[in-house]
């Protein structure tokens, strides 16, 4: 079925089953591979995108549930104020190791910062606990979020 969703400000019409996960649409239909597949069950956070600004696991988000909501992905997060600050802090702090989870980490961190400009450690834990990093970059992630918050 033809479905139209708004991704990074652009209406995209795709022909997929309504229960197709948004992640599959992004990666396999639209070719936007910055958003990563990790577990497929909302357990790891690698697939995190924003749905109307809220961090959401695209691997368990049926595409027909999106309606008129606006999707933002890692490819466009640098165009938001919070996203740009997060990306800069990520580079300043050399957060990335293998990098596979970092699209999701950055999307979760950007959503946090946009809604809570000065998060406490507990706020960071709450917002980031669903994003797994096998390299163990958690300490640098926390530092980078704090740096981004201070540059507000």
């Amino acid at each position: 079925m033809a479905i139209t969703i708004k991704v990074n400000g652009i209406d995209r019409t795709i022909d997929v089953d309504g229960d197709t996960p948004l992640l599959w649409v992004l990666r396999d239909v639209l070719g936007m591979t910055g958003t990563k597949f990790g577990c497929g069950m909302a357990l790891c956070g690698a697939c995190t995108v924003h749905v109307d600004g809220a961090a959401s696991r695209s691997c368990v988000t049926p595409v027909d549930s999106i309606g008129k909501s606006e999707i933002t992905t890692i490819e466009a997060i640098g165009g938001t104020a919070a996203g740009a600050r997060i990306q800069k802090a990520w580079l300043d702090r050399e957060v990335v190791q293998c990098g596979y989870c970092q699209s999701g980490q950055i999307m979760s961190a950007s959503a946090l910062l946009a809604s809570n400009p000065h998060p406490t450690d507990a706020d960071i834990d709450d917002a980031m606990s669903g994003n797994i990093c096998r390299c163990g970059t958690y300490v640098r992630i926390r530092d980078a979020i704090k740096q981004a918050a201070q540059s507000n």
Binding site: T33, T73, I74, E75, I77, Q87, V96, Q97, G99, C135
Partner: protein
Amino acid sequence: MILDHLTSGAAGPIQSPSTSDLSRRSFLQAGAAAGGGLMLSLNLPLANREVEAAGADELAPNAFIRIGGDGQIILTMPYVEMGQGTYTSIPMLIAEELEVDLKQVRLEHAPPNEKLYGNPLFGGIQATGNSNAIRAAWQPLRQAGATARTMLIAAAAKRWNIDPASCRAESGEVLHPPTGRTIKYAELAAAAARMPVPERVVLKRPEDFKLIGTPAKRLDAPSKVNGTAVYGIDVRPPGVKIATLAQSPVFGGRA
């Protein structure tokens, strides 16, 4: 992609490449690149003598250096960056000897081609593992950079009709200190591609290193904070279909 079943079965003791190993083989071949630039291909040394003896002479090049007319140095890398930093450390080896800024060096993934990029230590499979990428690259990639530098200096000296020994290289340029003349690598690339490949090159002394042994920003980090980094799962060869298993929703279900 660390292949445990292969790495644990590597035959014989692992040995570091020695100078005598390297001199037995011609590492570098030069030719005019398609765009009129300088292209160097090189064989990375095998760390295992048994494997080396079996087919060293037939080993196809498994990495390439290109210096384009835009002055950018591109290295096609057969080793995967998995967070271990090879996409920063290997460019440092080249940039050190080539006398360029690290930001001028760019890496490309090697395309899937076991003939060109197969790792002989893994039976010809195009694979990264065994912690051997930087160990194997240490001497030949510095040698590759030094060879390219030598050819660029030779091309500049020929253009100026002077002794190459009176020139030196720095920050992507060849300099002739007595006269203050300089010329950028980009302008020399095509001419350098026609210069003979030097049989021997002089590697820098460790005390003269400017990059090796210093902290560096990871070259792969920017692409990993904006979604442009290409991982194995992101590769889309032409004509390849996307497939997934259709799993039964119930335990013990039958088709």
